[in-house]
Symmetry: C2
Subunit: 333 residues, 2 copies
């Protein structure tokens, strides 16, 4: 049901019956490598284009999540997915492979939680028994589409982030064992006028702050409700801005509780500059790392605030600033 | 609630409290010009880029729909929208203007009914009081992105369609006067191997057929339930294929009942080749033309089967075929 202005409470608490995350070689050298189901040795994933490689990552994540659940594909009603590529081809072509009724979403890197929020609504409202949602990104497809061909070797400023090569998927059902999706907050598009696509963390930070504030207000809770509040992929630059903006508004989330998926996925010695990004980032960190920690009993309640920079290469060329959004989903053990 | 494998019945029958459609000069010369709220005299809509023009069309449609309803913007919880442009910038930038919590969707030209189906679910399931959903397209933005710059004057084969310059929006609520959304069927991605982006009607026809069949099966009805069954924008070529495919499977929908939004929007003498297309097409024909006919008492029950060709210019260049999808929404007076 609707609570407050822009949030949903899922009274039936849909269960994440299974989840999967798949990554590439750079992720294999990262900080949460042990949380992946598959780590590929090369970024081509045996395909002849990076786009097909990204699609394969998403297909694998979805297939593994279904396998793990013990369900058959035909038990599942809907597949919800989004990615960064023009016309979300990774998701659409994966939907072709999977063969399930498909809802494509786009919220840039917030697509992961947009999908999970919609999946939880469908299960909670009896519009589905089982829904699988996923998101993917690939460093080489994103660099090529949004920036320069990687072969060009363009230098990057210290605010730039590293697009994750990987995909995550989760399978929701009405009952069973596992972490449960309890609420979600759908974000507004916030644009503070930042137009530098090498500083998306700064562009997205105000959206994350807006959604966190709305979530607390709508649910009448504060940070003490959660063990972890993790933004989608602001990276270290955006994370600091988000912390400052929250502080300015009197919301002080303790350091050990407020983190960012883009800051968790890689090791400090990896050349990721300000951290990870891409639709796959929050999907992998949530469906791999955080759910594992929940199952181990280390975390009971988490809030994932996936952030998305809603620019296109064309909107940037036309000198537009970067509209941003963040969707928050609460998962409890 | 879920009915069958891939359909939803909306027991509360969410009401379309208001709707709006906006178009350009070519649409003003079209067959349903009287069904538009605004018809612009030039395709730039007073903007300095076609992308901004498309966005302005969508903003106008949303603003007019809200105005007509007598509601205030803050009464409305969510805005759902999709369009054809890379990273759906028309929708995202409109969401920035409108300032409502935003869910971006992408199903190419099926986005209109994907959005309406999700909006109906939110209202039906008490996840929202009011939701506005929209979709847009612009001939010049689509030609530029998917085909050639219009200045190039490339010749087109007889199977090509004309992307509609326009936007449609509808505002759903729990109660009130107006046509009601009663059910929806979410489509699977169907790909019969057609890879010619100048023949999208043929690519999408099997998806429309698959969704129509699923809709009849899930709801245990046949065509006699509806006064009109209108596919999204197959155009005349795709429409004929859809009719033949349905016939092969023993589903014969009478000629006067089975139509296509892309065949209705323009006059035969306009050089649209096989008919209209684009996310705006089914949105405008549904929210303008069909809803007007329902209000006049000419139609009681309609099924809109919006079709989408899920290709990208890159997937085409990589020699992929065109995966297609169709989402059906039932509207009753």
């Amino acid at each position: 049901m609707l609570i407050g202005n822009q949030s949903w409470i899922f009274n039936s608490k849909p269960v994440i019956l299974s989840s999967a995350s798949v990554g590439g070689p750079f992720e294999a050298s990262g900080a949460i490598a042990k949380d992946f189901d598959i780590l590929h040795k090369d970024t081509w994933i045996g395909q002849d284009s990076f786009e097909k490689a990204e699609r394969r990552l998403l297909e694998e994540a979805v297939e593994i999540a279904i396998q793990k659940s013990g369900l058959k594909k035909q038990d599942i009603q809907f597949f919800i997915s989004g990615d960064l590529l023009d016309q979300i081809i990774s998701s659409s072509f994966t939907a072709r492979t999977i063969g399930l009724p498909f809802l494509g979403v786009f919220g840039a890197c917030s697509s992961s939680m947009e999908g999970l929020a919609l999946a939880a609504m469908m299960v909670d409202g009896n519009y589905a028994k089982y829904v699988i949602s996923g998101a993917s990104s690939h460093n080489s497809t994103a660099e090529k589409q949004f920036r320069y061909p990687t072969e060009y070797g363009g230098q990057k400023p210290p605010t730039a982030q590293w697009t994750v090569t990987g995909a995550g998927a989760s399978l929701l059902g009405r009952s069973g064992k596992g972490p449960r999706v309890t609420s979600a907050t759908i974000g507004k598009v916030i644009d503070m006028g930042i137009s530098d696509p090498f500083n998306m963390g700064a562009a997205m930070a105000p959206a994350a702050v807006d959604t966190i504030k709305a979530h607390f207000k709508d649910l009448n809770i504060d940070h003490s409700y959660y063990d972890i509040i993790a933004t989608g992929d602001l990276g270290s630059v955006g994370h600091k801005i988000a912390k400052d903006l929250l502080q300015e508004q009197g919301i002080i989330i303790p350091e050990n509780k407020f983190t960012d998926c883009g800051m968790l996925i890689y090791k400090p010695e990896q050349p990721t500059i300000a951290g990870g990004s891409g639709c796959g980032c929050s999907a992998i960190v949530t469906y791999g790392h955080f759910l594992n920690r929940m199952k181990k009993g280390e975390l009971k309640k988490i809030l994932i605030v996936a952030t998305g920079a809603l620019l296109s290469p064309l909107s940037y060329q036309q000198k537009e600033s970067i509209p941003s959004i963040a969707h928050a989903v609460s998962i409890e053990m």
